[in-house]
Symmetry: C2
Subunit: 551 residues, 2 copies
């Protein structure tokens, strides 16, 4: 049955991938032993010129303006990010394929066009965007982490949705990042490509499945990234690496032009969304993705144009300190406390919110929804090359008894349970109006992204703080708390804490102040369904209060 | 296993139901042999006073104005519709329970409130609305056609969504209509309540599953009705009885506060919508259902407020003459021809549209989506009392091999097939812009509702013209073609026609000019997803051109 041994495929794939790094930019970092390699991003690297540093540290918005002002050509912009991306990859292992010559060729055409016509090609003229594995890009790899698909490449006609629009808008593509086997792991790891490392702290994961996107944003390998999120795959990596991101309500952005190892299940659908270095870039991309009228291309998109938001002068923010299942680690607790204080000091109201249902039960339902097929499609792919299941998936399947195809009746019941949770949450949110000082329902809900600042490699952590809002289908952003890192001095282990249950115990045991030291802390803010504009506007207020950043 | 014999339950239920008809309004119509009993609606009945005729023939909008102007009290309005409804039911068998005293009590309170405060209770002060079986109404029956649920009644806390809002808005409820066993039959029939008859032609069905709603609208038993539609259950009955209706895009209206024999499947979801005697009433109710902000109550509703529509001066209407599977019967073909002529004469463009995929295959996919559980929940309920499967369901299950629970993988594949069809249809619609004279994509698509004006009782007809737009999730309205009826003289059987396949042959064989004679003809107009306002506005233009009705 085995077509080709998976270990052979791995060896060939990685060798081929390594060859796509231009020779002049190949660096041997094997002697680099420090946990954080962020100095290669912030301080730079001999391969990166001062001008390239200048280009790559601009926001996407500022970069587009600079290209328009002819301060930089698209070619030099592409080259600047490409060298940065090659360094980032060689330190973290997040790319499956570089195609820098193709990117430069696009950039050259854009420069020529601008020179010749005096017109920009489109609103994103010359903007590099990193491309996650499972988006279709003409001629390039799509393998969703499976060795069986190591050689699968998309055809031009497969391109659709976001990346088709981005190409039309003048974006430049020069790399694909890889994703964990099946996408259903919250770190970026596969037998095919191996582990991906958090650039702030390589002892922990970058998060996944959009790990490549967040690393490239953190390390200036791209000015703009698009991730996808079905259980936390935008928010975990963005949060673990200190970046801004938006997971929208399903249907708000176009989700054609991508595919995974199995057909997408629709009870808790995945969504695409931007990962950026600033909220203004998140907003820039979000507005673009709505202004292209996704409902004219994606048959499941919702026809809601961009709506400018009008906020009350002072916000009422809900605070979910924990979900009753997995107590966040001390650094996250500290961040929640500090942000609360800052919000209150700025005159905003913070209202302590409690989940209206048992989040452990809700997670069981959610996991069964994800794996209605008992991972049948994935098992088939694994069997094709004989590759073993990833440890994190193996743990997940064991824990949630994922071992068989569910029946139609079971699927119906799961959807009904989802609806019940959704209704309870909507009601609880609405009912906060009777308890807040403002007399309004909370404007957004602040909560952890994950119990930890990140987690150790090859481990199945508690997904509950992100997958909850996929199951409920609420939009969420990640807000990095600038200057706030997991700190072994400030955040000792609470030796007096008594876990309330097995998940809490397991989570508690994972906290090791030394392991996490230096990992950035981010928080999640959840907004009302389909009101992404409000959530972004609220986040801008928060970014000012918390980070003193003007957007 | 059998708790109680189903025949006993039927006898008891019907006897109990008959007792809910006020004694003074019980009429023995058993000697009434004419196929059409519409003269009891149009000419009236000795039980109905002239003033009651006047009240009950008003549109909902006009009635609300008259109540506001104190021309009628809510009590006399309720009484007028109630007597009409009792007559309608006794001629067609569509009600499972009257509770007229409760309705009058509500009406009395409304009158007192208005008298005392000078204020109306709400925007629908005193408006009767008929209630379909599976909507939750405090204290009343919900049995979805199953004898096993013959005694099930909802509690006050079950009321939610549309009927909760309607109650708050001042509506008056005094009856529940019944629905076919499971709802998955396009006529209104069950072992529990028996067949329901088309008031225009009792030899054919009224359509279902919202058969009671359409009959009450046709026979002036209610000024306003809300149906539900997962495969055609609003559009078939509305069309078969010559009424206006709207099946919206899913998520546009609140769909809480209802339940069926099995949890709702979500791949092709059902939706609620109004059935009315005029388009202006359809619009009145649609705007209300959106103005209440369903997204603040139904966690799956979409946050799109009412958007006023701006139309081009002349419309471009697509025409789907047939779907390639089941050729519409001669009266429907004639209606399509005549409407086309009228539209063109009025300067609108008619563009012949063809479906971009095989509709027979699409129907197989859709049926498998509906019955992912192999009807397991229904079989269990049938077994509880030993009642047999309805003939139409039995035919459906045989034809589509519905006999087992599907697996999770199969459900995933079905959703993917749905998405493929949706994408193909969206693309085909968009691409009409390259072929129309206007250079715009079609504004709406005109097509049959069903191959026939209706169909004979206990028969499984071709659902394809309605369920197609559930699978695709496009909004559709029904437009009665005023004065256009199936006519044995004008619409002889086409003896030269050679059916293209088994479904076409089966449909062809069903056409009997004598059987259908006198059944009203209606057509379906399909609009763009989430643009219900545009579709209603377009329909008003069509209603003027086709029926000379100003809305």
């Amino acid at each position: 049955m085995v077509k080709k041994d998976w270990k052979e495929i791995v060896k060939e794939s990685r060798a081929r991938r390594d060859m796509t790094i231009p020779e002049k930019w190949r660096v041997d970092f094997s002697n680099e032993k420090s946990a954080s390699i962020m100095h290669f991003a912030t301080e730079g690297h001999p391969l990166v010129s001062e001008r390239q540093k200048e280009i790559t540290t601009l926001s996407a918005g500022a970069l587009l303006q600079a290209i328009k002002d002819k301060k930089y050509t698209c070619v030099e912009v592409c080259e600047a990010f490409a060298v940065r991306a090659c360094i980032a990859h060689q330190l973290t292992n997040c790319v499956s394929e570089f195609f820098i010559e193709e990117g430069l060729e696009t950039a050259r055409k854009l420069d020529e066009y601008y020179e010749r016509t005096g017109q920009l090609w489109g609103p994103f003229h010359g903007l590099p965007v990193s491309v996650k594995d499972h988006f279709h890009l003409a001629g390039h790899l799509l393998n969703t982490g499976f060795t069986a698909w190591a050689d699968f490449r998309n055809k031009p006609e497969d391109e659709d949705g976001i990346f088709k629009e981005l190409r039309k808008a003048g974006c430049v593509f020069f790399m694909k990042t890889h994703m964990p086997t099946s996408g259903m792991v919250l770190e970026t790891t596969s037998n095919l490509w191996g582990n991906v490392y958090n650039p702030y702290n390589r002892k922990v994961t970058s998060g996944g499945s959009s790990g490549g996107e967040t690393i490239m944003i953190s390390m200036y390998g791209t000015p703009m990234a698009i991730g996808t999120d079905g259980a936390g795959s935008i928010r975990c990596p963005a949060g673990f690496c200190g970046n801004y991101s938006l997971k929208p309500t399903s249907g708000r952005f176009d989700y054609t032009g991508q595919s995974n190892y199995a057909p997408n299940q629709v009870i808790v659908p995945g969504v695409p969304g931007p990962i950026c270095r600033s909220l203004s870039d998140v907003k820039l991309m979000s507005k673009f993705l709505i202004d292209v009228e996704p409902w004219t291309n994606d048959p499941n998109a919702v026809a809601i144009p961009w709506r400018e938001s009008v906020l009350p002068e002072k916000l009422t923010i809900g605070l979910l300190k924990w979900d009753g299942v997995a107590m966040p680690h001390p650094p996250i607790q500290r961040a929640l406390r500090e942000v609360r204080q800052k919000l209150e000091a700025a005159g905003h109201e913070v209202y302590e919110f409690e989940m209206p249902f048992d989040c452990e039960e809700a997670m069981k339902v959610t996991m069964n929804i994800y794996f209605q097929s008992g991972f049948a499609e994935g098992k088939k792919l694994l069997a094709e090359t004989g590759e073993p299941l990833m440890p994190a998936l193996e743990q997940l399947f064991r824990f949630y008894n994922i071992d068989r195809e569910l029946t139609g009746s079971e699927s119906f019941k799961l959807a009904a349970q989802r609806n019940k949770y959704r209704k309870q949450f909507l009601t609880a949110w609405k009912d906060t109006a009777t308890k807040t000082k403002s007399g309004r329902p909370i404007d957004a809900l602040m909560c952890p992204i994950s119990p930890g600042a990140a987690f150790a490699h090859d481990l199945f952590p508690w997904w509950g703080y992100t997958s909850l809002f996929n199951m409920l289908d609420y939009p969420g952003i990640t807000l990095p708390i600038k200057g706030c890192f997991s700190d072994k001095t400030k955040d000792p282990k609470d030796t007096n804490y008594t876990p309330v249950g097995p998940w809490d115990k397991y989570t508690y045991d994972q906290y090791d102040p030394d392991l996490f030291h230096g990992t950035p802390i981010s928080l999640q803010f959840v907004g009302k369904r389909f009101f992404e504009e409000d959530l972004l506007q609220i986040s801008q207020v928060l970014d000012k209060v918390v980070n003193n950043v003007d957007n």
